[in-house]
């Protein structure tokens, strides 16, 4: 952690770890609620999706049969909240028979590049994610 955080005036790197399936438990939904509130604090925000957490980003979710609200469309709004770094672990996808094509098309508009539309999802290996995690100041695990 940087020494200049003492006065609280600098930006911290926040990582939200999403490890659980979107339904079955409430962790995924309540994690997203933290991310959306946290977006108002102007910190450097990243999300990671590992283990069953990768199911949170799959497209075509239909929860009609379980009587629970499908909250997956909310992920599409993250770009508007300047939440633009969604790391998805390749091994977790592979272990579950998923590929990047199974995931929602999530994008953000890059203000430093004439508002060009860019993908928010970054596929990373377990090793690469380890490096990303080591750079964080605050990790919240859900």
């Amino acid at each position: 952690m940087s020494e200049d955080m003492e006065d609280g005036g600098d930006i911290k790197k926040f990582m939200y770890m999403n490890r659980k399936a979107p339904y079955g438990t409430i962790y995924a939904l309540e994690a997203l609620e933290v991310v959306l509130i946290g977006a108002a604090f102007d910190q450097d925000v990243s999300l990671a999706f590992v283990d069953d957490g990768v199911f949170q980003l799959t497209k075509g979710q239909d929860t009609a049969g379980i009587g629970i609200k499908n909250f997956s469309p909310a992920f599409k709004a993250l770009g508007d909240y300047d939440v633009t770094k969604l790391y998805v672990e390749k091994e977790s996808l592979e272990e579950r028979g998923l590929t990047a094509d199974d995931l929602m098309d999530l994008v953000y508009e890059d203000e430093d590049d004439d508002w060009a539309e860019k993908p928010s999802i970054r596929l990373v290996s377990r090793d690469e994610l380890k490096t990303v995690l080591a750079e964080q100041d605050v990790i919240m695990s859900f």
């Binding site: 926040f14 409430i26 309540e30 609620e33 509130i37």
Partner: protein, 130 residues
């Protein structure tokens, strides 16, 4: 060092609240500062004053309330998570038209911003849960 503590599981079913309590108590004993204990997910259930465990068992909620009183701890229960699970203070009970409240002494109900703020202000944010 300044610690923020997050409790994500309810009492008794899960050891998270016990572990968080032991950690908080010991951190204070060793001279560290606990800037906030934040209760989220089922962790909000630690904040009801209506729990009645058997007499030969630890009283998790009372333990927290006493620790808060002794060390002036800031213990925050997430409002959104609390409302879902029926944890209300007097104001919320009135606002929601409920006939009772159940928040325990030393706990206060507030928003998720308090969790983010704890992450910003603490040197380390320590999470207890699954």
């Amino acid at each position: 060092m300044k610690f923020g503590v997050v409790v994500n599981e309810g009492p008794y079913t899960h050891q998270a609240s016990d572990s968080a309590y032991q950690f908080t108590k010991e951190a204070i004993a060793q001279g560290h500062e606990i800037i906030r204990v934040f209760f989220y997910h089922d962790g909000v259930n630690n904040g009801t004053r209506l729990t009645v465990p058997p007499g030969d068992d630890r009283h998790i909620q009372n333990n927290w309330s006493e620790l808060a009183k002794e060390h002036n701890l800031d213990m925050v229960v997430c409002i959104a998570a609390a409302q879902r699970r029926g944890i209300l203070d007097e104001n919320e009970a009135k606002r929601q038209g409920k006939d009772a409240d159940n928040i325990a002494e030393g706990f206060r109900i507030s928003g998720l911003g308090q969790l983010i703020e704890a992450g910003i202000q603490a040197d380390r944010l320590v999470t207890f849960g699954d």
